[in-house]
């Protein structure tokens, strides 16, 4: 099985110079209990660089590009927190995509599918890009590609590199590079 990994992090707003709508909505709070609950919930300290629409735009472009590069022979597992904020783009609702809060159990299952030859290629997007303060994470986006060994490694690497390059346009760069830059 071929395996490729990338650890990225969003370090800036993805669409520089463009206006970004404030799309995050807060649940209406009424009772004493409502306020008490929200006052005690954990909240993230990481900066918020994008809204729901921008987040889905990045994922949509990524999935479309990967579908094209791998000629549709790819399955996606994407970590996505709820509430979703707005309707998802159609490409993320296709049968070769599964959206989950916790992808790890399914990664194990489908990786096994790749090694057994039942799944030809699996692209995992472990996405923790924050859209509002109650979400947890550090704006990291980790990618893993698992494909059957029959696929040419250099072609797999070339496609994977192209995908990473596209993410860089949105400000998602390799974590090490970001650290070096600081």
């Amino acid at each position: 099985m071929n395996r490729l990994h990338f650890k990225g992090e969003l370090k800036r707003v993805p669409f520089e110079g463009k206006l970004s709508a404030a799309l995050a909505r807060y649940m209406p709070l009424e009772s004493e209990n409502d306020f008490e609950v929200f006052a005690l919930l954990p909240s993230s300290k990481a900066p918020i660089y994008l809204n729901f629409a921008e987040h889905y735009q990045i994922l949509e472009r990524f999935v479309k590009q990967a579908n094209a590069c791998f000629e549709g022979e790819v399955n996606f597992l994407i970590r996505l927190s709820m509430p979703g904020g707005m309707r998802l783009p159609a490409v993320l609702l296709e049968p070769n995509v599964l959206l989950m809060q916790d992808i790890q159990p399914e990664v194990l299952r489908l990786k096994e599918g790749v090694s057994k030859g039942d799944v030809s290629r699996l692209l995992v997007i472990d996405d923790h890009l924050l859209r509002y303060q109650l979400e947890q994470g550090e704006n990291q986006m980790h990618l893993s590609l698992y494909s059957q060994s029959q696929f040419d490694v250099s072609r797999e690497e070339a496609c994977f590199a192209q995908l990473i390059e596209s993410l860089a346009e949105f400000g998602i760069a390799a974590k090490e590079e970001c650290d070096n830059a600081i």
């Binding site: 649940m27 209406p28 709070l29 009424e30 009772s31 209990n33 409502d34 609950v37 919930l41 954990p42 909240s43 996505l80 927190s81 709820m82 509430p83 979703g84 707005m86 309707r87 998802l88 159609a90 609702l93 049968p95 070769n96 599964l98 959206l99 989950m100 809060q101 916790d102 790890q104 159990p105 399914e106 489908l110 599918g113 039942d118 799944v119 109650l134 979400e135 947890q136």
Partner: protein, 285 residues
């Protein structure tokens, strides 16, 4: 002929206000895990040992249980661990991204990877509980009163599933009308398929009354149960079958619509052997 047979449906109603005094989220999930486990065992009670060995997997779906996981108040892996410790057939996969249609997308995912040649069983549970006792979830403008509970559906897949399952998303922002139209189009030409639709307050039901006037539908039970999210069509089939025990096989189109316009429909068969369980309403003691 639908390749999906409902071998069992269980519904465990949960009180809108679950607690006298709200416990930790860990304690809440410990309690809920016990209820899910008990319900799973109830639904599986009529399966033979051989059939139990053919249970492939168990999905847990939800619409409104997201805050504990999103905020990091608890991790799904901790809940899954509790469930695994309780018994072998409990859910290990959590799907909520498709809101009320999550059960249909779980089924689609399963069928995408499952091997067609072997007879198999699949469990789908739907959990919606007001774990933080928030006012918004009790009642809101979108669907008025909410209803809470745990549903478990045991499906037997007897052949290749093709047009029995539809997962789709509305293209317009009038998703209710679009949903009704797709439902109508889907059942047209299918004989004796009864619709089991989501529960909505009267003014929204009007949309179904008008656009699905000629279709055979189970009654809307919003006045009894409130809107129970993805559980509605299954609760609808359960209540109807308890009141009118099936004497022969009956086909239903279970259909759910999510707030963001995703919908799921599955044509299923219910028969005399379908195990029907409706429990007493529960709250955390």
């Amino acid at each position: 002929m639908s390749a999906l047979t409902v071998r069992g449906i269980g519904f465990q109603p949960l009180k809108s206000c679950l607690y006298q005094q709200r416990p930790s989220i860990e304690a809440s999930f410990e309690w809920l895990s016990g209820l899910i486990h008990t319900q799973t065992e109830q639904v599986l009670a009529k399966l033979s040992e051989e059939e139990r060995n053919q249970i492939d997997r168990h999905f847990l779906c939800s619409t409104m249980v997201e805050m504990p996981f999103t905020t990091g108040d608890i991790a799904w892996s901790d809940v899954a661990e509790k469930l695994t410790a309780l018994g072998p057939n409990n859910p290990d996969t959590y799907i909520n991204a498709y809101e009320c249609a999550s059960w249909g997308y779980s089924l689609r995912h399963y069928l995408t990877y499952a091997k067609a040649e072997k007879k198999r069983f699949l469990l789908v549970s739907i959990l919606d509980a007001n774990l933080y006792d928030l006012t918004f979830w009790r009642y809101n403008e979108n669907w008025h009163e909410s209803g809470f509970g745990i549903t478990t559906v045991l499906l037997e897949v007897t052949g290749e599933v093709s047009n029995e399952l539809i997962t789709q998303c509305a293209l317009t922002h009038n998703s209710m009308a679009e949903f009704a139209t797709v439902v109508r189009r889907t059942v047209t030409g299918r004989d004796n398929v009864c619709l089991a639709l989501p529960f909505f307050p009267e003014h929204i039901q009007e949309m179904f009354n008008k656009l699905l006037a000629k279709q055979w539908r189970l009654p809307d039970l919003h006045h009894n149960w409130g809107h129970c999210f993805g559980s509605d069509p299954w609760l609808s089939i359960l209540c109807h079958s308890l009141e009118n025990p099936p004497l022969e096989e009956q086909k239903y189109m279970a259909a759910s619509l999510a707030l963001n316009g995703y919908f799921a429909m599955a044509e299923v068969r219910v028969n005399q052997d379908t195990h029907l369980i409706l429990n007493e309403e529960a709250s955390y003691e």
